[in-house]
Structure formats: structure tokens, C-alpha cells
């Protein structure tokens, strides 16, 4: 168990968790848009489908269709980047991250707050970048860098205490969820059935998927040639790649155990039980088995599991308006 310097308020734990989660979400949206823009330059002839698939990844397809109708590059980018009404746009994510950070400025370091605040202030000025593809790519890469900077600052300016582990927990779970979504959508699009033989463009698409998680280079070192089976293995079951689902779940599991003090491999609360089961589900399977039984079903199941973990974390740690109950250890000392 991490050294207990001072207790962490439930409200603060909640805000720290969501702050990290929103930053991760903003980064992933920026990555997806950026990769699609690059893809667009390689394949100018099949535009619309790419942008629709981005909306499908975001999980906001229905809302989008009602407000904008057919997906085009312009309206998708506006919706995902700047739209204040879309709670998952980059702008909204940074705003939410900032609101959370603002409510816990005394817990996080000043440097973390300044980083999030300046990312938000820059995003408020980003409207003009929408008009110019060159600037747009640059802006997206600035957002990605800003998120890297956030994590680096958090790791190097904040004690690795309970609050810091909640930062990791929030970021890791959000990342696992986003990877599963992009893989799900792209796999469905590129391989409608296991026997389908792709077009020459498929390599480009799969490379793009890997690039969107900064994974192309690491994938090449691990597996070499582009092959859907290996890509699934790399993004779902790799233990070492930081944007593989298993890796994220293991990191989340470690942080949760650091918070509670329960040894890894056992559980002391429902959230730990659920997260441990999810980890085992990933630890003890193989890629061929996953594909044989249906990747979509498997990924769908993972997303449900991640949500359940989130819900139980809320119940266990954040539900600070729960009835007063004095814990045995909380008496006067």
C-alpha cells in the first residue's frame, strides 16, 4: 500500500480521475482526426467513408446524423474538434479536464494546472486552424504533444501517491476503451468476413490504424509485415506496447492495487474483482481464439467490462454523498 501521507477526499479522487480521463480522450480524438487527414492525402478518391467511420468510433453517430446528416471532412472535423455541444469534442474534453483540474488545484501541482489551462486557452483560439489543412495538422500535433506534456508533468511534479494513481487509473481505462473502439470499427470496415480478401489499399488503412496509436514502428519491430491477425494481437494482447489494451488494463490493475494495498492477483473490493477478471480475460487468451469467436463480440465485451469497472470505482471510492459510515481505521489517532 502506498504511504498514507494524508487522506484523499472522495470528491478529489473523482475529479483527478476524470481530469486524466478527459485529457486522454482529447488526445485520442486528435490522433484519429490526424491520421484520417493523412490517409485522405493518400487516397483522395474515397473520402466520405473514412470520415463516417471516425464518427462511428466516437460513439456519437446518432447525435451527429441528427445534427449534420451526411459526414464530410469539414463537418466531422468541426464536430470532433471544436463543437461545444458535443461533450466528446476535443474542445469539450479540454474544458471538462480544466473544470476538474480547477476544482482540485490544491491537490495537483501548479505545473499540471498551468499545462491544462494553457491547452484550453490555446484551443479557444483554434477556430481559424479549421480552414487550413496545414495548420490543422500542426494544431492536432500540438494537442497530442500537450497531452504528452501533461503526463510527463504529472509523473515528475506530483508525488506518486493515491491521487497520482487515480490519474493513471483514469487515463489507462480511457485509453483501453478508445483502442478497442478504433480497432472494432476499422476491422469491421476492412474485413467484413474472415474470408474476405482486401484491396491493395488495405495496407494503407491498417498502417493508418497503427499510426493513430503511434504504433506502426513498434509493430514493425515486433511482427514485421502488415497482417490483420498480427495487428489485432499487437493492439489487444501485447504486454509491452503502451497503447495495447492488455498493457493499459495491467497498468490500471497495478494502480488500483497500489491504492487499496491488496496484493495483485487477489481482490478486496468489487472494482478490484472486476478489473482482475478483465485482466485474466486478456492474459489467458490467444489472438486466434479471439478472431475465431468474433473480434467484434470480444471487443464489445471488453468495452462493457471497462464500463463496469468505471461504475464500481464510482461506487467504491467516489460516491461521496453516500450515507455517513465511520471506517474502523478512521478514528482519532
Amino acid at each position: 500500500m502506498i504511504a498514507q501521507t494524508r487522506p484523499l477526499l472522495s470528491r478529489v479522487a473523482d475529479a483527478v480521475y476524470w481530469m486524466a480521463s478527459y485529457i486522454e480522450r482529447a488526445e485520442n480524438v486528435a490522433r484519429f482526426i490526424g491520421v484520417n487527414l493523412h490517409l485522405q492525402l493518400d487516397m483522395p478518391l474515397e473520402p466520405a467513408q473514412q470520415w463516417q467511420s471516425l464518427i462511428d468510433t466516437s460513439g456519437d453517430a446518432e447525435v451527429f446524423r441528427k445534427r449534420f446528416g451526411v459526414a464530410t471532412q469539414t463537418n466531422v472535423i468541426r464536430f470532433l474538434m471544436m463543437d461545444a455541444e458535443n461533450p466528446n469534442s476535443i474542445y469539450s474534453c479540454l474544458r471538462s479536464a480544466r473544470e476538474n483540474a480547477r476544482s482540485i488545484r490544491e491537490t495537483i501541482s501548479s505545473e499540471i494546472w498551468e499545462q491544462i489551462n494553457s491547452m484550453y486557452l490555446e484551443m479557444m483560439q483554434a477556430e481559424w486552424a479549421l480552414q487550413q489543412p496545414g495548420l490543422l495538422l500542426e494544431t492536432l500535433s500540438q494537442i497530442r504533444l500537450g497531452c504528452h506534456l501533461f503526463r510527463g508533468i504529472a509523473d515528475t511534479t506530483m508525488s506518486h501517491n493515491e491521487a497520482w494513481h487515480f490519474v493513471h487509473l483514469g487515463g489507462s481505462l480511457e485509453r483501453a476503451d478508445k483502442i478497442s473502439r478504433i480497432l472494432d470499427v476499422k476491422y469491421f470496415m476492412l474485413l467484413p468476413s474472415p474470408t474476405f480478401v482486401g484491396t491493395p489499399y488495405d495496407d494503407l488503412h491498417w498502417s493508418a490504424v497503427l499510426k493513430s496509436v503511434s504504433g506502426l514502428e513498434m509493430y514493425r519491430k515486433r511482427h514485421g509485415q502488415i497482417a490483420p491477425r498480427n495487428i489485432v494481437e499487437f493492439l489487444v494482447l501485447d504486454r509491452d506496447f503502451p497503447r495495447a489494451i492488455l498493457h493499459c488494463i495491467r497498468r490500471a490493475d497495478e494502480s488500483l492495487h497500489a491504492i487499496t494495498g491488496t496484493p495483485i492477483g487477489s481482490f478486496g473490493c468489487h472494482a478490484e474483482q472486476l478489473l482482475g477478471m478483465l485482466r485474466a480475460k486478456l492474459d489467458f487468451t490467444s489472438v486466434d481464439r479471439v478472431i475465431k469467436n468474433g473480434l467484434h463480440e470480444y471487443l464489445d465485451g471488453l468495452q462493457v467490462n471497462v464500463n463496469e469497472v468505471g461504475d464500481s470505482l464510482f461506487e467504491e471510492f467516489f460516491a461521496w454523498r453516500r450515507p455517513v459510515q465511520v471506517a474502523a481505521s478512521a478514528g482519532e489517532s
Partner: protein
């Protein structure tokens, strides 16, 4: 940039004497400003403003949409206080706060000062911030005003007066620390060769003051928390800043609960006992069971836990009785009564409208006087006679006659001025000064305080809600040989 064109306009200036010669304590600063490259000062000023936004040093504006944040404008030219004058102010503040604390303790216990007829009992009973719920409470160390932000002004004759005591929940000290930080980051050249007294010790002193209040039976290192109304409160930045600097928890009402007479906070591991609460919530909203029942910000049962001596509150509820402006007018008598000495710092001469002769004088001289409501602050509810219309004066005359107890009047002071950057040159702007006084094991005064400046030309209103800004405040250190450094 130069001061050759700078106009005194007949006001007392903090930087120049009546003949336009630099005052001794300002000479070195003026020289180094004049030696700056063309445009450098303006660049520093703009850098400071950018930094304020980046650091998120903002206050919330109630009248605007939820979450609207503004920076509190900052002017680079500091206000300087010489060592001798500051020593005198400090002695005066210590005397005043000690006497006021004795007074409040007396009011909630024996009421000797009322029995001795120094102050009419009726004045206390009718004071808006008098809290009968606090009768008989014994706060730790008998301290009621742990943190005070007294407002001082210098008038045209050069005399410093106490304008208000602000005993309840004074704010602004975070700007003192941030202004100094901002000066050092954007305008470091001017500190060279000067001995300005540091202000960084405030968070440690504040924490020490709060820890000294821990009730008997607390842990060796007591749990101190800062209670805020939340992220949309106008002073939220200050709350989080102070909590961060002291390394204590920033809590909202919903984070706390009272059980078995003890205050607990809700943590990820269950409940944790709280010993001292630095509350930045007004008395009225502190505890819906004791004060306003409709308060959602407070903690039910808090006052009972406090009365039972299981938790300390700073500032102590009920101390606002001395913020009443009619009670203020009695402070010189309060000092004589409890301290047996004459007051060091003078009050602004004050007419109590509840006294017949004073009221007649006030009503006959409204166009010359400033009339204030006894229980308003922040520059609201007042009439500035010389700037008022006949209609406004008639309205105030009616209010005074209807509720004489609620009004006092004072002569219109011409506040002193400090050179302030206006576009690309200097102009004089009126200032006040709010020093911060801590009362724990002993009374300590932060060197300097917050200098607020009325940025609008000719304006006397320095409040942030009404076009005010702030300046760094320098108290010069004494050199080893006893002179100014």
C-alpha cells in the same frame, strides 16, 4: 519612460512629495524605471497580464454567466512604504486587533463594556452580524479574529486612517503573494539594490495560526482544512491557492459531515476526523441547523461540534459584530477600555446617524459627506456626496430618517495616489491598503498587504467588482545601522 510629465493634481502622492521630488524610499526605484530601454516597461506589463491568464489567477463575476472568469488587473508600478511608517502601522494594527478580540470575547460573555455604558446595548443587539447563537462559546485560546484584513487609507493631509476592519472572511491575500511573484518574474531588474521585505512567509504563518487552534485531543499534527463555497465562488482562486500553499485539504460542505459531535471528511477510505476549519463561508451559510436553514453550502451540526470544543473554526462565527460600521465608530473607545492606551491608528471621523445631533449635521451636509450603510461592504450601499445628484441625496435622506441606526457618515477623503501605467505614460490613481493580520499564539502582521488601485481616472472605488486593480506593495527593510536600506 519618464516622469517629467507626471502630474500630482494637488493630491498626496505616495511616490513624490508636494514639490514633485521623489520621496526617499522611492528614489532608487524611479531611477531604475527611468533607466529602462524604451518600450521595456510596456513589454513587462503585457507579459504580466499574459502570465495572469496562463496561471489562471482569476476571480469569478457573479453578474455574468456561470464560470465567467476575469483577471484582477495588475499594475507594475509598486506602492512603497518606508520602514518607520510601517513599524508604526504594525504597532497600531496589533493594538487594534488585540482590543477588538477582547471586545468580541466580552460581548459573547460578560458584556462588561455594555454594563459600563461605553457602548449602548441597543447598538449591539441591533447589529446585523451579532450572533446570539455564539453567546458562551469559548474558542481555543480565546481568539475570535484569526485572520483580519484591515482597510487603511491615506488622506490628502498625509495621515493614515483605518477605514474598515473586515473581521469576518477577508479576502485578497493571495494577490499579495501572486503580485510579488509576478513582479519577480516579469520585472526582476527593479529589485536590484533594494531591500524589500519578503511576503513568502504568509502561508507558513497562516498554517501555524490555524494549527495553534487545534482542540485538546487532536492528533499531534492536527488535520486542518479550508472550507470553500466551491469553484464558482468569486474568491475560489484564493481558496485553492492558500490550501495548496499550506498543503491542506480544500473541502466543500458536502465533503464534511458531523457525527457524534465530531466533524469528519469523506475520503476514499471512509471518514477522517477534522480538527481545524479555516472557513471561507459567511456565518449565515455555515450550518443550516444554526443559521440560515436554506444554506446548501454548509455542514449541518457544525456549530454544535464547535460549541462542544471538538473542532475549531477560523474565523470564529459571530466576530462580524465588530464589522458593523456603528460599532467601528466606537473602536477608539474600545481600545482605551481594554488596552488602557490611546489608539495608535486613528479612525476616520464618523457621524452616527442614530444620534440626533449627528443626524441633523449629516442631513444638512449630504453633498459634502460619504454616507455608508452600516452593514454593507464592497463599495455597495453608499452615497459619495460630492459626486451625487439631488435625487440620490433626497433618496438617502429618506433612508437615513427611516432607519437611522443603519447609517453612518464620514467626510469625503481624497485618497492618496500612486503613479500607474495608463497606455504609454504614467498617471496618478487613487489607492488604499489592506494589511493582513494573523492572531494565533501571537499577533503577526504580513509586511505590506494588498494595495488596491482605482484604475478609472478620478475614481475613488478600488473594489475589484467596480474597476479596481492592484499593485505590489513594498515595505522597505531597515538597514543594520537603523536607517533605510
Amino acid at each position: 519612460m519618464h516622469f517629467q510629465q507626471y502630474q500630482l493634481d494637488g493630491f498626496h502622492d505616495e511616490m513624490f512629495d508636494g514639490e514633485g521630488r521623489p520621496r526617499p524610499q522611492a528614489r532608487l526605484l524611479l531611477e531604475s524605471i527611468e533607466a529602462l530601454e524604451e518600450g521595456q516597461l510596456l513589454r513587462c506589463q503585457r507579459a504580466a497580464e499574459r502570465l495572469l491568464l496562463q496561471l489562471g489567477i482569476t476571480f469569478n463575476v457573479y453578474s455574468e454567466s456561470a464560470g465567467a472568469e476575469r483577471i484582477f488587473p495588475f499594475d507594475l508600478i509598486p506602492r512603497i512604504l518606508p520602514a518607520d511608517e510601517w513599524d508604526w502601522i504594525e504597532r497600531g494594527l496589533i493594538q487594534r486587533i488585540h482590543a477588538l478580540n477582547e471586545f468580541i470575547d466580552d460581548i459573547y460573555h460578560e458584556q462588561k463594556i455594555l454594563k459600563d455604558r461605553i457602548i449602548p446595548e441597543e447598538i449591539i443587539r441591533s447589529a446585523t452580524f451579532y450572533r446570539p447563537q455564539c453567546r458562551g462559546i469559548h474558542p481555543p485560546r480565546r481568539v475570535w479574529c484569526h485572520i483580519t484584513g484591515t482597510d487603511l487609507v491615506r488622506s490628502g493631509d498625509g495621515q493614515i486612517y483605518v477605514l474598515e476592519d473586515n473581521l469576518r472572511v477577508p479576502s485578497g491575500v493571495s494577490y499579495v503573494l501572486q503580485n510579488r511573484n509576478l513582479m519577480k518574474r516579469t520585472f526582476p531588474y527593479v529589485f536590484e539594490g533594494l531591500h524589500v521585505r519578503p511576503v513568502d512567509g504568509y502561508p507558513s504563518n497562516l498554517l501555524e495560526t490555524l494549527e495553534a487552534m487545534a482542540p485538546a485531543g487532536s492528533a499531534e499534527k492536527p488535520t486542518v482544512v479550508l472550507l470553500t463555497p466551491g469553484a464558482y465562488n468569486s474568491a475560489y482562486f484564493e481558496h485553492s491557492f492558500l490550501a495548496q500553499q499550506m498543503g491542506i485539504q480544500l473541502v466543500e460542505g458536502g465533503d464534511l459531515a458531523v457525527q457524534d459531535g465530531v466533524v469528519w471528511m469523506r475520503t476514499t477510505r471512509g471518514l477522517h476526523k477534522v480538527d481545524v476549519i479555516y472557513r471561507r463561508i459567511d456565518d449565515d451559510f455555515l450550518d443550516p441547523q444554526a443559521f440560515r436553514a436554506d444554506s446548501l453550502l454548509g455542514v449541518p451540526g457544525l456549530l454544535e461540534a464547535y460549541r462542544g470544543g471538538r473542532v475549531a473554526l477560523a474565523n470564529a462565527p459571530g466576530n462580524g459584530v465588530a464589522d458593523d460600521k456603528v460599532v467601528y465608530s466606537y473602536v477608539p473607545e474600545i481600545i482605551r477600555y481594554y488596552e488602557g492606551e490611546d489608539p495608535i491608528l486613528p479612525n476616520v471621523p464618523t457621524y452616527r446617524c442614530c444620534e440626533d445631533s449627528a443626524r441633523k449635521h449629516v442631513l444638512a451636509n449630504l453633498e459634502k459627506l460619504v454616507v455608508k450603510c452600516a452593514n454593507e461592504s464592497g463599495g455597495y450601499g453608499m452615497l459619495v456626496g460630492p459626486h451625487s445628484t439631488t435625487e440620490q441625496r433626497r433618496e438617502f435622506a429618506g433612508r437615513i430618517e427611516a432607519q437611522p441606526r443603519n447609517y453612518i457618515a464620514q467626510p469625503t477623503l481624497s485618497l492618496s495616489r500612486v503613479p500607474t501605467l495608463v497606455e504609454d505614460h504614467f498617471e496618478g490613481r487613487h489607492v488604499d491598503l489592506r494589511p493582513y493580520i494573523l492572531y494565533g499564539k501571537e499577533i503577526k502582521v504580513l509586511p505590506g498587504g494588498l494595495t488596491r488601485v482605482a484604475l478609472r481616472k478620478g475614481s475613488l472605488v478600488v473594489n475589484s467588482s467596480q474597476g479596481g486593480g492592484s499593485k505590489d506593495t513594498w515595505v522597505m527593510a531597515r538597514s543594520p545601522n537603523g536607517g533605510e536600506a
